[in-house]
């Protein structure tokens, strides 16, 4: 299943405006305005100027919050998005309710205490983002993430991503029984996405600090259903066609 672009011209527009460039512009803008986000539960709230609103939207970070405030646009960033902007791109500072800026270690400890699976999920998230894919929550499909080649307005997401942990057992307990496979595959098929399993191996390094991330390795496997009938019919058609 290749990329499904939405409408004519979308693919060209995506090519003309690469995601790497958009993210780079976002990074510069946030650094310039010394942006600070407020940590609240599993989210970071960020108030931004109009220029940054556009960049956040184009780069697909966060969800806009509708408020009556005219001079600022508020965004809600997920824990992974916020940490990526803070730790990988170094363009966002995050403060706690005490208004002190939290350092990487403090943030990591906080986030791993909120979500046990955070290290694995973040490793996968940052892997996709670093390769310039757009990553959003996959919760409405019962998966961890959905991955897009560019902005969701231009293209449908290709992959439904499940993050699995190696070595210390599946952290999220998925795909351990056949019924889960049947269920997930069927759902992915009905929304035209391919199931992508991303295996994170921590190599026994643990998850005490963000520097552990460097030692984690990733392996991707596409999980696809094969239809013996379809395969045979396609083959027959091809053979007839080449005669």
């Amino acid at each position: 299943m290749g990329p499904r672009w939405k409408g004519k011209g979308s693919e060209a527009r995506a090519l003309a405006d690469p995601m790497s460039k958009i993210v780079s512009e976002l990074k510069s803008s946030l650094i310039q305005s010394d942006s600070r986000g407020l940590l609240s539960g599993c989210y970071v709230l960020l108030g931004v100027e109009p220029e940054q609103t556009e960049l956040l939207n184009r780069a697909c970070f966060g969800r806009p919050i509708v408020t009556a405030q005219k001079d600022k646009q508020w965004f809600q960033l997920s824990i992974e998005e916020a940490f990526y902007l803070c730790y990988n791109l170094r363009c966002l500072k995050i403060v706690g309710e005490d208004e002190h800026v939290k350092n990487d270690e403090e943030l990591w400890k906080y986030m791993t205490s909120k979500k046990e699976t955070f290290p694995d999920l973040f490793k996968a998230y940052s892997y996709f983002r670093t390769q310039n894919w757009v990553v959003r929550s996959g919760s409405q499909y019962g998966v961890d993430f959905v991955a897009y080649r560019h902005h969701p307005a231009l293209v449908h997401s290709e992959y439904a991503v499940l993050v699995l942990s190696e070595g210390d057992g599946n952290v999220n307990g998925r795909l351990r029984v056949w019924s889960d496979f049947q269920c997930t595959l069927r759902l992915c098929g009905s929304v035209a996405k391919t199931l992508l399993a991303v295996y994170i191996n921590k190599h026994g390094v643990g998850a005490a600090s963000p520097s552990c991330l460097e030692s984690y390795s990733i392996e991707e496997r596409l999980i696809t259903r094969w239809s013996a009938e379809q395969s045979r019919d396609e083959r027959t058609v091809t053979e007839i066609g080449t005669n």
Binding site: L15, P18, R176, F181, S190
Partner: protein
């Protein structure tokens, strides 16, 4: 450049659902008259079951299916229990025992149930599913052709090994030279599958399209998949799960996420 339309939203993930027609509705039979019956053919092949080998020696060959069924050993053709049962169910094979008496379908089912001939019921269902669609299916690890008598005795020894170890997955590895690194694990390769091919040659079958592995109780772990990939030397793997007459095939192909611009 027109940015407004897609820059104004951060893009919801509400991809519209593509309605896939439920092509695999279950077949329900209400009256016994609704259950289809296969017709016995006029020209039926005949084979004789060899208990020691756990295979049937073909005595009379009728029909073109022998191009893709049975292994050749010492100019004779032997078929596995799944090949035997498949043909017997379709009325294309008449099976005899060592005393020349007919072996009824119920006795062939029992042979599968006993698990001494290297094929369990689930494996047979997978075999039947693929064969019915025209695929060429051979027992993994067993060559289509064997020439010399020496190989044959080693082969028979190997077959006896399969019989002993099949039912009991706890036993340590018992292998003969011929079967190399066949390991007894929870997930095992069962069949070599080739696409439908009227020009199939048992003397030079080539590489199978894929090797089918059966994972009965639960799906294969990543470690098991990697283990099997190493064993199978680059030939694609598929895993099947059989439940309530439904055979599902799943692949776990490695991929590397492309870097985007």
């Amino acid at each position: 450049m027109v940015r407004e339309d897609w820059a104004s939203s951060s893009g919801g993930t509400s991809d519209s659902e593509v309605c896939v027609q439920d092509a695999d509705e279950e077949q329900h039979y209400f009256n016994s008259g609704d259950i289809p019956k296969l017709q016995f053919r006029n020209n039926i092949s005949v084979a004789c079951w060899d208990d020691k080998m756990g295979m049937a020696e073909v005595l009379e060959m009728e029909g073109g299916m022998w191009i893709t069924t049975g292994i050749v050993c010492d100019s004779k053709i032997y078929c596995s229990v799944e090949e035997t049962l498949f043909l017997a169910e379709r009325g294309e094979l008449h099976l005899l025992d060592a005393h020349d008496s007919s072996v009824m379908l119920k006795d062939i089912y029992r042979k599968v149930a006993q698990g001494k001939s290297g094929c369990c019921w689930e494996s047979f269902e997978a075999y039947k599913h693929l064969k019915s669609l025209g695929y060429i299916v051979g027992r993994h690890g067993i060559p289509w052709t064997m020439k010399s008598a020496k190989n044959k005795s080693a082969f028979l020894e190997g077959m006896a090994q399969i019989k002993e170890t099949d039912g009991n997955i706890e036993k340590p590895n018992q292998v003969t030279e011929l079967f190399g690194n066949m390991r007894i694990t929870h997930v095992k390769p069962i069949f070599d599958v080739y696409p439908p091919n009227s020009k199939f040659r048992k003397s030079s079958p080539g590489n199978p399209s894929f090797i089918l592995c059966l994972a009965r109780d639960h799906p294969p772990s990543k470690a098991e998949i990697e283990d099997l990939e190493r064993q199978c030397n680059g030939i694609p793997l598929k895993f099947c799960h059989v439940e309530h007459g439904r055979v599902s095939f799943v692949s776990f192909n490695r991929m590397e996420l492309p870097v985007l611009p």
